[in-house]
């Protein structure tokens, strides 16, 4: 989330005009992706987000402007060598059907002339990293894998030569929704470990909000409309276009961005220790885990006590409240100790985040 990181990849005044087309596909684009963060490119189709991505590794050569990779101007270096330094993952995966999984991952290390032992070790390491057991999958062919597994291998191939930048063009777009959600979670976990600088094209706002440290909203004629954190894009759209694109549901989407640990919660006391004077109290079992509400101000009708982990989001809390039909949810930490409570009415009256959080 931090904006202080130095830009790992940057575009300066990039434009692309195709010879026969009148209007440019991408116009005067300036974009910096801080090291170790994920930037999501989103926008309606034909707005230049994929073109922009492909200009970063010069699959498409920009008409004007400069591309900077880790501060180095790479606009004119050998494009093949440049691409070996940048991971690339596409929606169709593009695994070579006549190569084994291991050989698919080893393509770039082989081109780079790594020795055999290093390549084998790297292939196994990467298969492990994407959750495929090396000895089971190394020698299989792509057609023997499911779509989700193929895309994991696609990601592993992109990471093969340990590039600092990864470009991903709708990598999870063709995967069924259930697998997609799981693979997104795994992808976030993976990013925790590898901390790559990632540019990620998507057409799915939910995906952009979930995965992105920043979101770049592209508009007509290949213009960058807004480039900011998901929170800001959802709450403070830069203009009419972004507001309309983010559209209905932005407020609900935003709930999934807010972690409960960042909120100023209603204080709650253990029954018998705390006064029954305005704050709720609860009864706990021998391990100190909350069991039921003992007192709620202003009502004798005590609802069931439901809990949500502190690491969850406001979205999860709302989900649990709706599910249990209560207006109050207890927030607990990893040891199931109660940290506070969240009221339904807090949602409408405005959530208070902790100072400095």
């Amino acid at each position: 989330m931090s904006d202080s990181g130095k830009p790992m990849i940057a575009l300066e005044g990039i434009s692309k005009t195709y010879p026969k087309a009148g209007a440019p596909a991408v116009q005067e684009l300036n974009l910096e992706v801080p090291e170790g963060t994920i930037s999501m490119f989103i926008g309606p189709s034909g707005c230049g987000k994929t073109t922009t991505l492909k200009m970063m590794n010069r699959l498409i050569e920009p008409t004007t402007g400069r591309i900077l990779l880790d501060g180095e101007d790479v606009t004119a270096v050998n494009a093949d060598e440049l691409r070996r330094r940048i991971g690339y993952v596409i929606q169709q995966v593009g695994l070579f059907p006549h190569f084994t999984i291991g050989d698919n991952i080893a393509v770039v290390p082989r081109i780079l002339g790594w020795d055999r032992n290093r390549i084998t070790a790297r292939v196994d390491e990467l298969l492990h990293l994407v959750g495929l057991e090396p000895k089971d999958y190394r020698d299989r062919y792509p057609r023997q894998l499911s779509g989700g597994q193929q895309q994991r291998v696609g990601v592993a191939r992109g990471l093969a030569a340990d590039p600092s930048v990864m470009l991903m063009d709708e990598p999870f777009g063709a995967i069924d929704p259930i697998t997609r959600e799981r693979i997104q979670d795994e992808f976030l976990e993976l990013q925790q470990q590898i901390a790559k600088t990632i540019c990620f094209v998507t057409h799915d706002l939910t995906e952009a909000v979930k995965l992105g440290d920043r979101i770049a909203v592209f508009g007509p004629g290949g213009t960058l409309q807004q480039y900011d954190t998901p929170d800001t894009v959802l709450t403070h759209p830069a203009n009419e276009f972004v507001a309309e694109f983010v559209g209905a549901g932005a407020a609900v989407r935003r709930l999934s961005l807010l972690e409960l640990s960042r909120l100023e919660l209603q204080t709650v006391g253990l029954d018998g220790q705390a006064e029954r004077n305005g704050s709720p109290t609860y009864e706990a079992d021998a391990q100190g885990r909350p069991v039921r509400w003992a007192y709620l101000p202003g009502t004798a009708d005590l609802p069931k006590l439901v809990t949500v982990p502190r690491t969850g989001t406001v979205y999860d809390a709302v989900d649990i409240m709706l599910d249990a039909q209560t207006e109050l949810v207890a927030v607990v930490d990893e040891q199931q100790q109660l940290q506070g409570a969240l009221w339904w009415k807090d949602l409408v009256e405005g959530l208070k985040t902790k100072a400095g959080a």
Binding site: R83, R84, Y88, G94, P97, V107, R143, Q150, A160, I175
Partner: protein, 264 residues
């Protein structure tokens, strides 16, 4: 085949499907053709034996002389097919490159024209060229007539390679040349081999005309027996050419099957 679990992605057929497909690919003609060739040859030899051959026929239709003609015929076929491969595959690759797409249609039209010309006419006409009479003339004429299947199959084979694979190859840093040799050509090989098989079979048949420019081959006993009015001898010689064509096609078919199976 319709298990719901197998739905998630196109391009990831179940193993079951793959097995079924490769079984389907096993052409029934791979069993039937050699049988027809052998049975037909045996029948004709039996017929000739029952009719008896006169001295003139026996001077041509005997194992020694037929063996020599067979070797000549195979050399003609082999050389002309080699010329076709050496010319048509690089040409096919060249006109499939994005920079040369414009000349693709004219080149294919020209080779189509070459194939449309009657091989007999081309062989005889080429004898008036500086090549003169003999083996080179026959090889050039045969090769010209068989360029088209190899050229088109090279172009089509390269075209049917999934664009996404080429994009992935270039995107991860393979050069254009590496992409061609490691991705495009291996994946186009089955289609290209099918084209070579067609050219080979064309050449086996057409090589029977090489005798008219003095290049020998199995056309020679056919022509000789015809000129001397010996129907039984003609029948034997012609059957041998037909059987040879079927057997060469069978061998090429086996090779094609092996290539396809390896390519998955």
């Amino acid at each position: 085949m319709s298990a719901p679990a197998a739905a998630p992605s196109a391009g990831a057929p179940t193993t079951e499907e793959v097995v079924r497909r490769s079984r389907q690919r096993f052409d029934r003609s791979l069993i039937v053709n050699p049988l027809i060739a052998v049975i037909g040859l045996l029948l004709v030899i039996a017929y000739a034996a029952s009719q008896g051959l006169d001295d003139v026929e026996r001077s041509v239709i005997n194992p020694g002389s037929l063996g020599q003609r067979l070797v000549e015929h195979l050399i003609l076929t082999g050389l002309s097919t080699l010329v076709v491969i050496v010319v048509a595959i690089p040409a096919g690759i060249a006109i499939s490159r994005p920079s040369a797409r414009r000349i693709q249609r004219p080149v294919l039209a020209f080779t189509g024209f070459m194939q449309a010309l009657p091989a007999f006419g081309v062989i005889v006409l080429l004898a008036f060229s500086p090549l003169g009479l003999g083996l080179p003339t026959a090889v050039v004429a045969l090769a010209l007539a068989a360029l088209l299947p190899v050229l088109t199959n090279t172009v089509v084979g390269l075209q049917q390679v999934d664009r996404a694979l080429i994009e992935a190859a270039r995107g991860i840093g393979m050069s254009a040349r590496q992409t061609l040799f490691r991705v495009e050509l291996p994946l186009a090989t089955p289609v290209m081999v099918a084209g070579v098989r067609v050219a080979l079979v064309l050449n086996v048949g057409t090589a029977a005309l090489a005798t008219y420019v003095g290049a020998g081959g199995l056309g020679e006993p056919i022509k000789g027996m015809l000129e001397l009015g010996r129907p039984t001898g003609t029948l034997v010689a012609a059957t041998i050419v037909a059987a040879l064509a079927l057997i060469v096609d069978w061998l090429a078919g086996l090779a094609e099957y092996a290539v396809r199976r390896n390519a998955g």
